[in-house]
Every structure is written in C-alpha cells, then in structure tokens.
Symmetry: C2
Subunit: 352 residues, 2 copies
DNA sequence: CTGAAAGCGCTAACAG
DNA sequence: CTGTTAGCGCTTTCAG
C-alpha cells in the first residue's frame, strides 16, 4: 500500500476522513471531533464552519475507528430464541425503532439451542467488544450468567425475566392469567380449560406456569378449582393449539370455556372447534393472550400485551444506562400493564 | 488514563489482546495474527502453540480494531420495510442463520418511509464503513440508487427486485399467479376473484401486479378473461383481506373462487366467508400465496414460497461476494421455485 | 517462516 | 477555546 494519502479533499466517491474536514475547515482534527460531537469548549462560529464543511464533504465518522478510540460501538444487540415469530419479531421491531432514533445499530442474535441457555450468554459475551449493550428476550439467565455478564463492559437489560442487577421489562403473567379467567368466571363459566402448559417447567422463569397460577388463583377466589384434567399443552403454536384444543374439546365433559395462553394457540383452538362443529362462543368461549393482529379480525377476546412497547422500553432503558445518566443508575424493573380486550369469542355459557 | 498497560497476562475479566497472546506464546503479534486467521507461511507447530495460548487466554480479536486495520467489519445489514411481519421476519431469520454460521454480525435496518425509497438507500449508504454488505429486501432501488451503491465499497444483494449489477434472489411472481389460477381453472372455476391489488403500482417492481398478470395469463390460456370487477385490494394484511373479501363475496354475482395474493389476506377472506355464512370450499374456493404456518392448520391451499430460504440464499450470495470468490464474481440472479400446495380450501365449484 | 514498523481514523488528555 | 500528542488493537508490507 502506498504511504498515507495526503490530507487533501477527497475525490469522487472516496470516503472523507476527519482529517479532510480539519484541513478544509482550517482547524485541527481534535476540534472537528469536538465540534461534531457537540462537546463544549468550541466557539460557535468554529462549530458552524466545521459542520458546514463536514456536510459539504459528506463526512461520516468511521464507527470502527471511533469505537477503537473511544471504546463504544454505538451498537447494541438483541438476543432472541428465534426471530421469525410474532412475539419476537415485534419485540425486535420495538427495539429497532428506538435504536434507529438514537443512531444506534441493532444486531440480532438468535440463541437457537433453547436447552443451553449457556449458549446464548457465551455467544453474547463474545460481543462485549462489538456492542455496547445487550437485550435478552425471554432467555433464562442463571446467576452465573448474570455474574459473568456483570464483569463485562456491557449494558444489559432483560425482557421477560427479572434478574437482580440488570434492568428489566416484563408483564405480570400471574395477573394475565387472573384477568383472563376472572372474565370467564364473571360470564358464568365453571369448567374452564387451559391451553399452553409446558411438559416441564423451565428452571428460571416460567411463563405458562405463571399464567396458569393466575388462572388458578382466580378460580380459587371464586371458590372453584382448576381441574388438572382440563389443562392441555399447545407449544405456543397454532398447530399445537389445534391439536391440544381438539383433544380438550372432544372430551365427553368438555369445558365451557378455554383460556389459551397465547393467541396463536387460540387460533388453533378456533379451528379445532370448527372441526368439531362447535360454535364460538355459543358452545365454547375462548380467550387468548397477546392481541395478535388476527385476533381482532377473528373477534377473539384476549389479554393484550404491548409487545412492541416492551422492545422499545428495553432499548430505551439500555440506551439510558449506556448514556450513563447517573440518576437512572439504579436497575429499574418495569412491569408493562396488560389489558383485557373483550370481543366476541366469549359469552355466558349456554347450558350452565 | 495511565500509560499503556504492559503486555502481561490479563487478570480477571480483562480482555486479552493480540499482544498478550504474542508474548505468552513467545512470538510477534504479526505471527499471531497470521496463525489465528489461517494464513499461510506459519509453521504448523507455531500455529498450534498460538492457537493453544489464544484459547487459554480466551482471546477474541477486537472487531473494531480489525475493521479499522483491514477495512472489513465482518458484519452485514438487511434492509427491510418493517421487521414485524411474517414475510420479513422469516427472510431475516434465514439471513441470520447463515450469518451466524459464518461468524458475521447481522444488523437490521428498517426503511419505514415506504414512499421514499431514497431514504432506505441513504440510510444504508451511511453504513458503508460499518458493514461489508447489504441485503435489500423488497426495497425498490432505482438506477440512481444502484449507481450510488455501486460506488461504495459494499457488497449488495437484493431480494424481490432484480437489478443489473447486483446478485438477487426472487420468486417468479407471474408464475405464482399462473399456478394458483391454473389450479382453480382445472377444478372448473370460471369466475375467479383476486384479493391484493394495489391502488397504484410501485414504479420499480410490482409484486401484486405480476401475480395478477400471471392470473390473467392462465385465464387467457383457458379462453377466459380476468374480470376487473372481481379484483379487490387487501393491503397484504389479514384485516385488509377481511374487508376486501367481504366486499367481493357479498356481490350478487360473487366469484366461485378467490385467489388471495398472500395467505394473510386469505385468512381474512376465510373470516369474511364465515361472516357471510359461506362455506369453504363448497360455496367458494380459496387459494393463497406463502404457506404461512396458519395455512396448514386452516387447510388453505396455497402457492408455497420458501421465504426463509430466500434470506439464506441472499446472505450466502452476499458472503460469497465478500469473500471475493472470483469464480462467482458474476452477478447471479436466483429464482426460487414455488410450489402448489393443495389442501382443502379448493374444490370444484358447486353450481357451475 | 517470522519480526519490525507503519499506519487504519478517531478520541482524549494535556498543554497552551 | 484550540492544537499537540499519544495511542485504541489489529493488519500488512517489507526485510530478514
């Protein structure tokens, strides 16, 4: 490679460096750096001139150089189990919007091996030089993971799980279960089925378990019991809800209402009901969780989760943490409120 | 900041640099660099030792430093109109998988202002120092954009659009329309409606227009005409399909079959049919495009698009381009094959 | 096959 | 308020 090119005006499509700007503006690179980053101690006139020249030269600071010198990459990553699902893509969308607004780059990392939560952390840990912070979405971090992450020079926010030490945003899953089932009980239902239980509860945080616990509480408050026989699985997919729903609805003594732990499973249940010739809500009431776009069209009653907002809140919390606002140095644990959205899939049981 | 830390073994969670590895292995940093990157001209024994030491020290090259020195960031970006939709999140998932495999970081960029395609390019162009390449997904690039992009030191691949100069992957939308409607015609349908037309066709590439053109061709081949009155909109959303579908199906002389340009619009049509008390396929046949998960459960006949694969193919093409395989220097235009998936939503018309 | 040296473009003290 | 001076950690000629 030839010796360094002189600090002349760049020609054509050549990228201009801070040095080009400096010489063109007749100041030092340090001043350009300060001026362009809005740091104090720069004469207004100087700043104006530098900005002017920078614009003319279409100067854009090289992120790598800046990261190397300053130690911050102006990028964050979201770690999700997968990205092509309604829930996760919406979380990412929320985070992306905030990042774009603040000029941060957003990397997406998937942690496919759900089993090995370790995996996720290791992968992510390798990024401590590449990004300034991480958002873990529904990734079960254990204490070791948290400790490991804490050593690194990284901002961390979790969604779903609430750890000690890192800010988090989540919903109150017990309350979600409660709201859903209280609605059903208020309508007069007594035999209530559940769709979405997991074979084995995850060690760290257990979304289905919590929603079911909330359901059980609501039932208990009404002097009723949650019948274990009426708890089906569903894998949190449409197909899973379809199968488990059909199973549940073909029982001789089928429930008069079903609480699906996610809208997608509820969609499956809708189809199962149709397969069996059961009308909703006349023969069976149905309530979901999420407020998926399709829920509205289907008229599905549901407990709305503001998923995009979760991503946005997490990103904002992370960026705040990175910007080092000392006032917000304490780890906030945000609990996003859910709300019951009553549509046409729930009604009083026909034959109580 | 104190003067540079000496090149000693890093303590605790401190990041180890190439220099730590070099001194620990008793070689120069240059040799470490070569050894670890699999470059030639390194004694096998040396390489082994360096690798060993690097592992022990948990050395990970700093991407920013490496980018600065070598000019490549080992990161790419996907530019999508939005990320929280079935189609786009699946494309991103495909790209992500390939990137993860090859150790590339994946940035996500959304170009929300659909109107201003310019926007997308400008945003992306600003990344020419941050990423090595870009994947544009369904972003209409015009000739100026292409020229602009070509100037930059960036690999580019497009999905959906086929430009001159950049590799691309797309489906043959005319054929998709053709396949769908040929199936309907073969079943005996004559009055076929379409869901998903756009008010105004985009300037550069027009997915709905092409699918409709294919439909028209199929009809023409059978000596039939596509009735403009039977072409509804749908916005490519469930809700849009619902509305447009209801409109179409409440006509006195309604079509015996509907070709929805996307599965999500077909779902809307399913609900519209249900609203109107029409049975599928007895009263009206329905075919979509995509093969969304819900399509299977709903029994929707559809033309399958292998969306995840599109993302993967594009990413692979991009990485190949970046790795500079001179053999593949010529811009490939991949056309992903679609296939008809016949389920239970289509049948012969009841009363022809 | 290996080392020395010169940067990549930017930031951050520290003097003026 | 501004310039000078060191590097950030890595890659890459160019000599051994």
């Amino acid at each position: 490679m030839p010796p360094t090119t002189p600090a002349s005006i760049p020609s054509g499509a050549e990228r201009s460096t801070i040095e080009h700007v400096a010489t063109a503006a007749g100041v030092s690179v340090a001043t350009v750096s300060r001026a362009l980053r809005g740091l104090p101690n720069v004469a207004v006139s100087t700043r104006a001139r530098v900005e002017e020249v920078a614009r003319e030269l279409k100067y854009r600071p090289d992120p790598a150089a800046s990261r190397l010198a300053a130690g911050r990459s102006h990028a964050i990553a979201v770690v999700v189990p997968l990205i092509n699902s309604w829930y996760f893509s919406n979380v990412v969308a929320g985070a992306e919007a905030v990042c774009a607004e603040d000029g941060y780059d957003l990397l997406v990392l998937t942690a496919p091996n759900e089993a090995t939560r370790r995996q996720a952390v290791d992968t992510a840990a390798g990024l401590d030089r590449r990004v300034d912070g991480l958002i873990f979405v529904e990734v079960g971090l254990d204490d070791d993971d948290v400790a490991d992450l804490a050593t690194r020079r990284l901002g961390v926010v979790t969604i779903g799980q609430e750890t000690t030490g890192f800010p988090s945003v989540r919903v109150d899953n017990v309350t979600i279960g409660r709201m859903a089932v209280e609605h059903l009980i208020a309508l007069g239902h007594r035999r209530i089925g559940v769709l979405g239980a997991q074979a084995e509860a995850p060690a760290h945080f257990d979304v289905p378990g919590q929603r079911i616990a909330g359901a059980a509480e609501a039932l208990a408050d009404a002097g009723l019991r949650l019948d274990d026989d009426l708890i089906g699985t569903g894998e949190f997919t449409v197909e899973g809800g379809h199968e488990a729903g059909r199973e549940l609805l073909s029982r001789p003594n089928r429930p008069t209402a079903i609480f699906a732990l996610s809208d997608e499973m509820a969609f499956g249940a809708v189809i199962a009901a149709r397969d069996l010739g059961l009308a909703i809500p006349d023969d069976v009431s149905l309530i979901g969780v999420d407020d998926h776009e399709v829920a509205e069209v289907l008229g599905l009653t549901t407990v709305r989760q503001r998923v995009v907002e979760h991503g946005a809140l997490a990103a904002r919390a992370l960026l705040r943490q990175l910007t080092g606002h000392p006032s917000t140095r304490v780890a906030e644990h945000l609990v996003s409120h859910s709300e019951l959205v009553i549509r046409s899939s729930t009604s009083a049981p026909c034959v109580p």
